[in-house]
Amino acid sequence: MSGDLRSYIIRRLLMVIPVLFGVSILIFSVVQLFNPIERAALFIRSEREAANVEGIIRKYGLDQPIHIQYFTWLSEVLRGNLGWSKVVSKPVLDALVTFLPATAELTLYAAPITILLGIYLGKKAAVHKDKAIDHATRTLAIIGWSMPTFWLAIMLLAIFYGYFGGLFPPDRLSVEASIYVQSGKFIRYTGINTIDALLNGQLWIFVDALRHLVLPTLTLVVVQVALLMRVMRSSMLEALGQGYVVAARAKGLDLKTVIDKHAGRNAMIPVATLSGLLVSGMLSGVVITETVFNYKGVGWWFVRAASQLDIPSVLGFSIFAAVLFVITNLVVDLLYAYIDPRIRLT
């Protein structure tokens, strides 16, 4: 590892600290909008404690000056105490751990499909600029981009669940499958249904889980792919206009090689920066998608919490989303610096 790469990594890691500190202050400020009793819920860890709100207010000093409250709250958060989620009657951290595999499963399918499809279509549109395929993909992109996620999800549900008689149902599993999954015969390795089903050798559960995944995955892909396609198209157009592309063609290289090897690879660089946006889009997307399809992941839990004013869950999930997003951006930047030496020096 060269010296400037090491110093870049250190600088970039240090930048994370003020951002996370700021995130904690922002969340804490939101907390201040509530009265002490509602805030007390942030510290409750069990049903027994919930009965003694006055005690909680005194114990965690919710009647203390604001900066002392902040550090009390922060030290609890850092120890993993995010409060009590009343919508699922368990601590917020446990709720996150419970619901995360379902969301991970959904994005495990949606993200790769979105990325591959977006890059493929964007490239095609750029190479055939102003031809039929370009207009078709661009029109689809604009419609996808303008489509309210929740409306698309509702229409898919009405058509593929309602009209086609239960072809692709909502929820995560059918009743029979979920009874079997919760019985002792089925070992939960990962919490991700399709993977666990294969590991247990239960093909019917795999198929059942997959049928439930089709519509939420499709919704996420349609909404996300538009952005990726658009960026890939303009990035590819720019790459195709570069001198090295003209030079490669002039030397007599065939079009396919030039498009794939020369222009295509360089056009990928701006697209890679979208990974952060993609994670953010997926997180926002699952919130709506899981709600419409009653798919019990973190997004579903977040919306239930928000509509029933379960503040600790709302803030807990917001912190989780911010940390995840900050880490993704960190990883993207570091990979970037590794690939492209120019970035380390700025």
Binding site: L20, W145, M147, P148, L283, I288, V303, A306, A322
Partner: protein, 308 residues
């Protein structure tokens, strides 16, 4: 002394560029479609009191109810788009919902611009420590996925039209601050800024007379075109049940009311289609109008591909 060829309108570069932009816009069918859609919605919003006269003119945004039973009723002479759950009139809801959409879009864009321009011009012009502080604040907002932070704010602020607009403003101003800051950093290097400084121009004078006029137009365009996505975000909040109060004329709210009626009884699965199809089509068309216009603008204003 003013040199005659410089003051001549014909050669004024900014004007020439605007003319070129308008020409390109007029020759692009997609942008024309966008403008037509937006104009149609504007007409609906302005004529709302005529198209759907409110029973109580002091509270026009409350959708009238025809009874209280939960099952929606199909389009009829009395309710041309039918009624949704709780017997709210869908036609009234979508017509006044157009006005809600414009109010949200314009207020949020205006407020975000105000915040973004103040923060961005201070940040870009003064640089140094104040710039660092403002940019770190924007970093904090950018650390959250937009929808999630907006939900958190909206929950904290309570269920009302004002809190929806405030929540979205708090999420969207940093983008404008960043854009303006970047543009100012470029303009700041220009000789005319240096000249004004040498002549003793105050900071306020330089920012408002020299820097902003030369950096702000792209920002105005970007912000205006954001109305579509802002309305989309507001609709999402209302759909999730944390936006406007129950019964307020809003497209997202109407779809929220339709959630129990997506799939009808087995023999007629699309029985309640009007409850979700009509309000959804309004949202899609509205956002599509802005995005069509925005897409045309993006190609035209991008200096790298502008004249290709």
């Amino acid at each position: 002394m003013v040199m005659p060829y410089l003051s001549s309108r014909k050669f004024e570069p900014r004007l020439r560029e605007i003319r070129f932009t308008v020409k390109r816009l007029r020759s692009s069918p997609l942008s024309l479609a966008g403008i037509t859609i937006i104009a149609a919605f504007a007409i609906i919003a302005v004529l709302a009191p005529v198209l759907a006269p409110p029973a109580d003119p002091s509270r026009p945004f409350n959708i009238p109810r025809d009874g209280f039973s939960s099952e929606p009723r199909p389009p009829s002479r009395e309710h041309i788009f039918g009624t949704t759950e709780g017997q709210y009139d869908i036609y009234y809801g979508v017509i006044w919902g157009s006005r809600t959409a414009f109010v949200i879009g314009i207020v949020v864009v205006g407020a975000s611009l105000l915040l973004g321009i103040s923060a961005g011009s201070i940040s870009g012009y003064y640089g140094g420590r104040i710039d660092n502080i403002i940019m770190r604040i924007t970093d904090i907002v950018f650390a959250f996925p937009g929808l999630i932070l907006a939900v958190a704010f909206a929950v904290a602020l309570g269920r009302s039209m004002e809190s929806v607009m405030l929540a979205i403003t708090l999420v969207s101003w940093p983008t404008y601050a960043r854009i303006l800051r970047g543009d100012i950093l470029q303009v700041k290097q220009e000789t005319y800024v240096e000249a004004s400084k040498t002549l003793g121009g105050s900071d306020y004078w330089i920012i408002t007379r020299h820097i902003l006029p030369n950096a702000i137009y792209p920002l105005f365009i970007v912000a205006t075109l954001d109305i579509g996505s802002i309305v989309l975000l507001a609709a999402a909040l209302s759909f999730l049940g944390i936006g406007v109060p129950l019964g307020y004329a809003d497209w997202g709210q109407l779809i929220n009311l339709a959630r129990n009626w997506v799939v009808g009884p087995p023999h007629d699965p699309l029985k309640y289609w009007y409850t979700w199809a009509i309000p959804g089509a309004f949202i899609l068309l509205f956002v599509l109008g802005w995005n069509l216009l925005g897409d045309a603008f993006r190609d035209i204003l991008d200096p790298k591909i502008r004249r290709r």
